[in-house]
């Protein structure tokens, strides 16, 4: 395995990325499909459901978000099923910048002190703003109490080969985060076209200081498809072997059912390894997923199929 030597110059980045092994597209897709057929039942399923709940970044990223909606979401984050206190709380609450303070206060006042608030920043979702704006955006979120920053990369720069710009932006935002906030870097894989690009972008982000790499904003389709997550998990695994550093992965967008979530957990276990099966290293960005997990959990506890009337409307 190659040593990781990047000084931030275009040449150093390119010569490092050139050493990465290419992704076998057919192989990645068939392996992801094969892992998707694993059958997880009974006690294992119950464990997987609870693990998945504890990994959810419960998200609302709408132009129509209101303080009331964010507060309701936070209440749900602390106690996903009000009728069952054995359900774990979610991994984090993920909101737009201006909602961070509201979310933080509501969590603190309702028994959710240990639940971090994640803010999407750097001109989410397009990333089309100057670096100054992106820096301010990040500073704002941290000042309001965000302890996780979900930044988007400049896909335009990445696709036009301006890798140093992408790298420098991540380094800059990472500096602002420091030890005050975890940095998740959104690759927006739906816009990166090839798996090779996903692998390159993953390494670029990790080398620049990302704590997590995240698939998508949720605003672009396709989002977190299983082959893409597989490629990113392989990148994380390879990076660990190279450097000894464990980077987290966050698929987001399009994961709506318990079955989808369990497929993701199988991918993690079989690719990065079981030590990644913790909210510190794997998160799922979702909103509708939580209701499906709760309905499946009710089915497993009560032996009868549940319905939408028995979970909250989001």
């Amino acid at each position: 395995m190659t040593m990781l030597v990047i000084d931030g110059s275009e040449t150093s980045i390119k010569s490092f990325l050139r050493t990465l092994s290419p992704v076998d597209q057919v192989g990645a897709e068939s392996r992801a499909a094969m892992l998707g057929t694993r059958s997880i039942k009974t006690a294992s399923k119950l464990w997987a459901i609870d693990t998945a709940i504890s990994m959810i970044d419960l998200t609302t990223l709408e132009g129509a978000d209101t303080p009331g909606k964010v507060m309701a979401l936070c209440t749900k984050a602390v106690r996903p099923d009000p009728t069952d206190s054995t359900v774990p709380h979610v991994g984090a609450v993920c909101v737009y910048n201006d909602m961070v303070r509201i979310a933080r206060e509501h969590l603190d006042n309702n028994g959710g002190k240990s639940i971090p608030v994640a803010a999407v920043s750097t001109a989410f979702p397009s990333g089309r703003a100057s670096l100054e704006v992106k820096k301010r955006d990040t500073e704002d979120a941290i000042a309001d109490g965000a302890t996780e920053i979900d930044m988007v990369i400049d896909r335009g720069a990445f696709l036009s080969g301006n890798l140093a710009k992408v790298f420098a932006e991540i380094v800059c935002i990472k500096e602002i985060c420091g030890d005050r906030a975890h940095l998740k870097v959104i690759l927006e894989t739906g816009e990166l076209v090839t798996y090779d690009n996903v692998r390159k972008a993953s390494f670029l982000a990790m080398a620049a200081g990302a704590d997590f790499i995240k698939t998508s904003t949720g605003k672009v389709v396709p989002a977190a498809t299983t082959p893409v997550v597989l490629v990113m998990l392989e990148a994380v695994r390879d990076y660990f072997q190279m450097t000894g550093k464990k980077i987290g992965v966050k698929p987001a967008g399009g994961i709506r059912t318990t079955k989808d979530a369990i497929k993701q957990l199988v991918l993690v276990n079989e690719t990065a390894g079981p030590e990644w099966l913790t909210p510190d290293l794997f998160r799922i960005g979702a909103s509708a997923l939580l209701n499906d997990l709760l309905m499946q959990r009710m089915k497993m506890k009560n032996g009868q199929y549940s319905g939408r009337n028995y979970v909250t409307l989001d």
């Binding site: 032996g303 009868q304 199929y305 549940s306 319905g307 939408r308 009337n309 028995y310």
Partner: protein, 279 residues
């Protein structure tokens, strides 16, 4: 010499024709005791998928105008008419009737479908009310659909019973998960082909074939099913279903094959609205 192209009888869920998730099928015999077909044997998971498909389209179907619903149901009758030859030959094979008897049954069933289609925009007119109240209010009562209704089809006269099981529930604005009669499922599968080529939105009717004894407990306890037509169940199974269904207060009914608007009304609930006069 031509090799027969045999038909695979499948389920009808969300506008698609899948095999059972369980991969099972069971054997049915014709009236002379010879092998007739291997329809799919639905599992509880197929039922779950059918309920999800139905629930997803429930809002769309119940909020369509009553007139529009009746037009769509009438169109179903038009397509049934075009398929009558297929219905006739299946009834002849399954029930051992003569062609003339089968044709009569099919014609009656289609007429019955049209009759129920007509009820869509009349049910609220006839069974709704403007209530006299002492105050400056209008007070209206209108019957509204309950939501997802599971219906166990009885088997005395296969096609008419299918129409009795499905059409009135649809006319009220409900969406349907129909469990075909275990012995006579073929007409139900053919009706699914009719519905798939009609203007009915996918998922409004879902048809499962298989063992009703296997599915009934899951229907009874399912919290997202709002009503059950238990006509096709024997009395013990029906009583068990009523006990299970008490959990979420399902509307559970059982009918003889008399055609009546009561069949439409049974899966509707009255909603009363007070509206101030002059505002």
């Amino acid at each position: 010499m031509r090799i027969d192209v045999k038909k695979t009888y499948k389920l009808f869920i969300g506008g698609q024709f899948p095999r059972s998730e369980s991969g099972r099928s069971y054997e049915i015999l014709d009236s002379k005791g010879n092998f007739l077909a291997n329809p799919a044997q639905a599992s509880r998971k197929d039922l779950r998928e059918a309920v999800v498909a139905a629930r997803n389209v429930s809002e769309k179907w119940s909020s369509a105008s009553a007139f529009n619903r009746s037009q769509i149901l009438y169109r179903v009758a038009e397509i049934m008419e075009g398929r009558s030859e297929q219905f006739v030959s299946e009834i002849v094979a399954q029930e051992g009737l003569s062609r003339a008897q089968a044709l009569k049954q099919v014609s009656e069933a289609i007429d019955l479908w049209v009759w129920y289609a007509g009820w869509c925009d009349k049910i609220a007119t006839i069974y709704g009310a403007t209530n006299p109240v002492s105050g400056s209010f209008y007070n209206f009562t209108t019957p509204e659909p309950v939501g997802v209704v599971a219906t166990f089809i009885s088997g005395d006269s296969s096609l008419s019973d299918i129409v009795h099981g499905i059409a009135p529930v649809l006319a009220g604005g409900n969406v349907v998960v129909a469990i075909a009669n275990e012995e006579f499922p073929l007409s139900a599968v053919t009706l699914a082909e009719v519905l798939a080529t009609s203007d009915l939105p996918a998922g409004v009717v879902n048809i499962l074939t298989g063992k009703s004894s296997e599915l009934a407990p899951w229907v009874g306890s399912h919290m997202d099913i709002d009503g059950v037509d238990g006509s096709g169940l024997d009395l013990t199974a029906y009583e068990d279903l009523r006990k299970e269904g008490a959990e979420n207060l399902k509307r559970i009914n059982r009918f003889t094959s008399v055609k009546s608007p009561q069949r439409v009304l049974s899966f509707m609930e009255n909603k009363t609205v007070w509206h101030p006069i002059g505002i």
